[in-house]
């Protein structure tokens, strides 16, 4: 039988849809790791990005640093952290947060930065405080780019969260690693299909959110109109 029919068979087998090693449970674990990672990374990166975007301070440092962080191989980092901290949830969470910070940070500062400086100056002239400028002008106007940053971070994390299985956790990576261990290629392919499907669904959700965010932006008017 071909890998394709074997994979379909693996995916449609009823035992695959219940229990701890079933797809629903693994999917839930996977989404859980992704959500936790994004939440932690967002708490760190988004306020920092807003501050950098608003003040323009440390922008070049942020660019250089996020570039360097992007270059870190997640599996290598995970292995290194796991050797110090042992197995468990913390090592993959740290490794994934490191992966998620660059796109979140870049989205946040680029979104704020992209707002027309004349608009910002106008708000300042009307007596807005810096906090009001950020929260009422820059963030709402920059929202599509900020959401774009979140979208990119979610996609990277959801695809890479498979590494959690490497240190004894669950998630969809279990199928890849367990399948690999016993040369069960249909299991690996089936697991990959679920990861891909999840990534596409999440990307669709964020594409919709992003267009919603753009829709709320006041229509651009040419200067002087």
């Amino acid at each position: 039988m071909s890998v394709v029919t074997d994979t379909v068979e693996w995916l449609t087998d009823s035992v695959r849809w219940s229990g701890d090693d079933g797809i629903p449970h693994r999917l839930l674990e996977h989404v859980g790791y992704t959500a936790e990672t994004i939440a932690i990374a967002a708490v760190i990166a988004v306020p920092l990005g807003f501050w950098i975007g608003h003040t323009g301070r440390f922008r070049s440092v942020a660019v250089a640093l996020t570039g360097a962080m992007r270059a870190l191989p997640t599996l290598g980092l995970l292995t290194l952290i796991a050797l110090y901290l042992g197995i468990g949830l913390t090592p993959p969470l740290i490794a994934l947060v490191v992966l998620a910070i660059p796109p979140l940070l870049a989205g946040a500062y680029a979104g704020v930065e992209a707002v027309d400086s004349q608009t910002v100056d106008a708000a300042r002239a009307m007596g807005f405080t810096e906090w009001q400028i950020l929260t009422r002008v820059e963030i709402p106007l920059g929202l599509p780019i900020i959401v774009g940053g979140i979208r990119s971070a979610v996609l990277q994390v959801v695809a890479t969260a498979t590494v959690a299985a490497y240190v004894g956790l669950g998630g969809l990576g279990r199928y890849l690693i367990d399948g690999q261990a016993v040369s069960d290629y249909p299991q690996m392919a089936g697991g990959s299909v679920v990861v891909v499907a999840l990534a596409l669904v999440l990307d669709g959700v964020f594409a919709a959110l992003q267009s919603l965010a753009s829709g709320r932006r006041p229509a651009a008017r040419p200067v002087g109109a």
């Binding site: 042992g86 498979t162 299985a165 490497y166 004894g168 690693i177 367990d178 261990a181």
Partner: protein, 301 residues
């Protein structure tokens, strides 16, 4: 077993979204000349050291030898052996048997020896097996063993909710969880899959107490370094994995057999442990140098 050691490496490739199964064949090459023995090895240090031992001993007896080491997984080097690209490779008896006969049930060294003769294709043969073994072994810390009075795998029955760490395949393989249940009657095991072939992450999980028992290859230096207790296996659940030369039938002359039999007669599990420790420890000694030293120490060259 070495395929399991490769899991870590292979997992990297898998996670990189490349299905590594169908890459090119690195052993594609010329046939070994009829008067030359080409020694191959799997892609992990212990096997390379063994291949060097074979090669240097044969050379010392005037046999023309070439080496093609670090070939890859069993699937690859057995094919190379049958193609005639290599003629001789150090193997592990139990895994070699299940490679040719996946249904094999033999677990003791003698049973495996007998079964191998039937299972091997006609153009291949194995010579005398050595006493040296590199196989899965269940290990606990010394404190844990003393506290719970553990000496054999059967004693694990005393522990409720036993936490066990091993490679992922331990969950389904016959020597793994199913075997522990069937052969030793140990149930309710909490299994933590750790994909490093009993390497540092597995060791750390054991030392940290995140798992009670860890599956570590019997010739891993960390067992000795950390004073771990390897549980005995009175029921032979884990198949014997004696180091054994696998050779192309047409190259197995009396002289060659004689040289290799002498090596197998001398080689012990302790030797493998020492060789691996020197290779992986602070010295990082090269396989060729270690092989020469071992052969000299045993008076074989």
């Amino acid at each position: 077993m070495f395929t399991r050691k490769l899991t870590a490496v292979a997992a990297t490739a898998v996670l990189g979204l490349s299905l590594a199964a169908c890459g090119g064949d690195p052993t594609e090459g010329e046939q070994s000349a009829s008067d030359t023995i080409t020694v191959g090895s799997a892609a992990f240090p212990e096997n390379e050291i063994l291949a060097e031992i074979y090669a240097q001993a044969l050379e010392a007896e005037g046999v023309k030898v070439e080496t093609k080491l670090n070939i890859g997984a069993r699937e690859v080097y057995i094919k190379a052996l049958q193609n005639g690209e290599i003629d001789l490779v150090p193997e592990y008896s139990g895994n070699l048997l299940t490679y040719f006969d996946p249904e094999a049930t033999a677990t003791s060294p003698e049973q495996i020896d007998d079964a191998l003769d039937d299972a091997l294709p006609e153009d291949l043969e194995v010579l005398d097996a050595s006493a040296a073994e590199d196989k899965d072994s269940l290990n606990v810390t010394k404190e844990f063993a003393e506290k719970n009075g553990l000496t054999t795998i059967a004693d694990l029955k005393k522990i409720d909710g036993l936490k066990l760490g091993a490679n992922p395949e331990f969950k389904t393989r016959s020597y793994g969880i199913p075997g522990l249940e069937k052969v030793y009657g140990i149930t309710g095991i909490k299994f933590t899959p750790i994909s490093d072939g009993g390497g540092p992450a597995t060791l750390k999980a054991l030392l940290d107490g995140k798992v009670d028992v860890a599956d570590i290859y019997s010739t891993t230096p960390s067992i000795v370094e950390n004073d771990l207790v390897t549980l005995e296996d009175p029921e032979n659940l884990i198949a014997a994995q004696n180091v054994i030369p696998l050779i192309a039938d047409k190259k197995a002359s009396d002289k060659v057999e004689d040289v290799l039999d002498k090596i197998s007669a001398e080689l012990t599990t302790q030797d493998l442990l020492d060789l691996n420790a020197k290779n992986q420890g602070a010295d990082k000694a090269k396989p060729a140098d270690l092989a020469k030293q071992w052969l000299t120490d045993k008076g074989l060259i």
